[in-house]
């Protein structure tokens, strides 16, 4: 079952290059990705990502499961934004079946999803700087992330993979420990963001390793269908929460951070700015949340959308998630396609890497913020 050597990278006698296999197991948090690098000394001449080492057959499972039975799967696709994917799937099915979510549930979803976004960005921040060599911010970021996971654990029972959102709302109401921890967390996180700024953002080594590295222009981004922070760091202000808003996002006052440079440093700055914006949304939602039911009533166990195909776009921590459901009127989807942002974001890597150093490979790959199981599904 060994994968064959790709013909495009066959070594010729006139070449003084060699192949380095950044194999499926390498000390990075991005998952099982294999990069075939053709190196000329320290310079990368060609790169071919080999995928599929984490393929678990989600789309095939979707064709063999009812809509409710498929609920645990979205979280496992992008486990760093598990609650965002859970929410996206619930909203897609609610849109297809015209289920109305009560207002309190929308606020709860907004709070929990933005917290999940913060935890995803924190993990990315810690692991990215660790990849570049700085081990300390990893520990601070994980400490903050544990706070967030503790808050979400209060109400959902899970730390990483959630099935907290259900069709029509959420499954449990917020409780006092949740609210207390959350109110203590927001000012603490703001203080920590200042610490990160001092520790990392102004660090000359970090800046030298990320400035002007892996520059993506807006046209190149469009050719490869990039979305998310990677795109916003190239100057394109595209956020589904603003363009095709869902839930209560039209009512929240938040910005979409963009940077024009398009290099790794810009992507880093965009993601850190997004943490602050998520905190703003959480504060506003906490202030305005009404009392009321947390789930729609009379949602059937077997939801059956009308025959036809539906699409729903959602902004996860990595970019635009697209859920395409083809229904034939039965309680099992006929086809469910997940358009995951990392799939497109990673496809730009063979274009970015040639001409860079091997050390820059890590910086560029990390800055794209990909999660391999959501590419492999």
């Amino acid at each position: 079952m060994m994968t064959a050597e790709p013909i495009t990278l066959r070594k010729t006698l006139t070449d003084d290059t060699f192949f380095l296999n950044m194999g499926p197991q390498h000390p990075s948090t991005h998952g099982v990705l294999r990069l075939l690098l053709k190196l000329d000394g320290e310079y990368v001449r060609a790169c071919e990502p080999v995928l599929g080492y984490s393929h678990r057959g989600h789309e095939h499972m979707a064709q063999n499961r009812t809509y409710l039975q498929f609920m645990p799967n979205p979280s496992r696709m992008d486990y760093l934004s598990g609650l965002l994917y859970n929410d996206a799937y619930c909203r897609a099915v609610e849109k297809a079946c015209a289920i109305r979510v009560p207002e309190r549930a929308e606020y709860i979803r907004a709070i929990c999803c933005e917290l999940n976004r913060i935890s995803s960005h924190l993990l990315w921040f810690g692991s990215y700087v660790m990849d570049l060599g700085g081990i300390t911010p990893f520990l601070y970021a994980f400490d903050d992330r544990e706070d967030v996971l503790g808050i979400l654990n209060e109400v959902s029972g899970s730390r990483l993979t959630y099935s907290y959102c259900c069709f029509g709302g959420v499954s449990r109401d917020l409780n006092d420990p949740f609210l207390q921890k959350l109110k203590a967390f927001i000012p603490k996180m703001r203080g920590r963001l200042k610490d990160y700024d001092t520790l990392v953002s102004k660090n000359i080594i970090f800046i030298k390793r990320t400035r002007d590295v892996g520059v993506i222009h807006a046209d190149l981004a469009r050719d490869y269908g990039l979305t998310g922070s990677t795109l916003r760091a190239s100057g394109v202000s595209y956020d589904i929460r603003k363009k095709e808003p869902y839930g209560l996002y039209p009512e929240f006052d938040f910005e979409v951070p963009t940077r024009p440079e398009g290099d790794c440093l810009a992507r880093y700055q965009v993601r850190l700015a997004e943490i602050e914006q998520s905190l703003r949304i959480v504060e506003q939602a906490l202030a305005r949340m009404p009392q009321g039911p947390i789930c729609a009533e009379n949602v059937p166990q077997y939801v059956t959308p009308e025959p036809g195909d539906y699409h729903f776009s959602y902004e996860s921590a990595r970019g635009q998630v697209g859920i395409y459901i083809v229904s034939d009127g039965s309680r099992i989807p006929y086809r469910m396609k997940w358009r995951t942002p990392s799939f497109c974001n990673l496809s730009i890597l063979p274009v970015l890497l040639p001409g860079t150093l091997v050390a820059d490979t890590i910086a560029i790959l990390g800055s794209l913020d990909v999660v391999i199981p959501e590419i492999d599904r």
């Binding site: 995928l51 064709q63 202000s237 363009k243």
Partner: protein, 180 residues
């Protein structure tokens, strides 16, 4: 025009979301599509319910033409996928815009066994999408630079998302019953 590229750290208007500008981008693209493909257009879908602003059905030969037109109009490729309709495959191409939302869904009916033209010369990102469709459905795209499997092992001899696929026992899965 449709791209919505902002050259500075754009500050969007605070308060309510931006006013609904779906009609502008959508009608602009629609006009170009009707001008080129007129008779094959289905018509705009009801976005609030189904998620697509424009739907059209095309013969497979016109797909590169559509891709070229949408690329010039400033769209990006969201995904390419396929649906197994038992006697034929329906290829689904979905394009979007970075500016005001206008999602275009193009459906292409391809009998099983026939090849379809690749759009990876227009949208380089389609490279991986088409490889995935080949991997899961066996659809061959002519003109693709390197059509090989992307997610399954290279030596795999099955296409799992086809409706008549049953996992053989050697794959460590269990034989499945008919769809309930």
């Amino acid at each position: 025009m449709c791209c919505g590229v902002s050259k500075d750290t754009a500050k969007l208007r605070p308060g309510k979301g931006r006013p609904n500008k779906i009609m502008n981008a959508q009608t602009a693209i629609e006009k170009r599509l009707i001008h080129r493909f007129g008779e094959t257009l289905i018509g705009p879908a009801d976005d609030s319910f189904k998620g697509f602003h424009v739907r059209l059905d095309l013969p497979k030969e016109r797909i590169p033409e559509l891709a070229q037109l949408l690329h010039e109009a400033g769209c990006f490729l969201e995904y390419v996928t396929a649906v197994d309709r038992n006697d034929h495959l329906e290829l689904v191409y979905v394009f979007g815009t970075y500016g005001d939302p206008a999602r275009i869904r193009a459906g292409v009916r391809v009998p099983k066994g026939e090849t379809a033209p690749s759009i990876s010369r227009v949208f380089p990102g389609a490279d991986w999408h088409e490889r995935e469709v080949f991997d899961f459905f066996g659809q061959v795209f002519s003109g693709h630079p390197d059509l090989k499997r992307i997610l399954l092992p290279e030596t795999a001899d099955y296409h799992p998302l086809l409706k008549d696929f049953r996992a053989p026992a050697r794959l460590n899965g269990m034989q499945g019953p008919e769809r309930p």
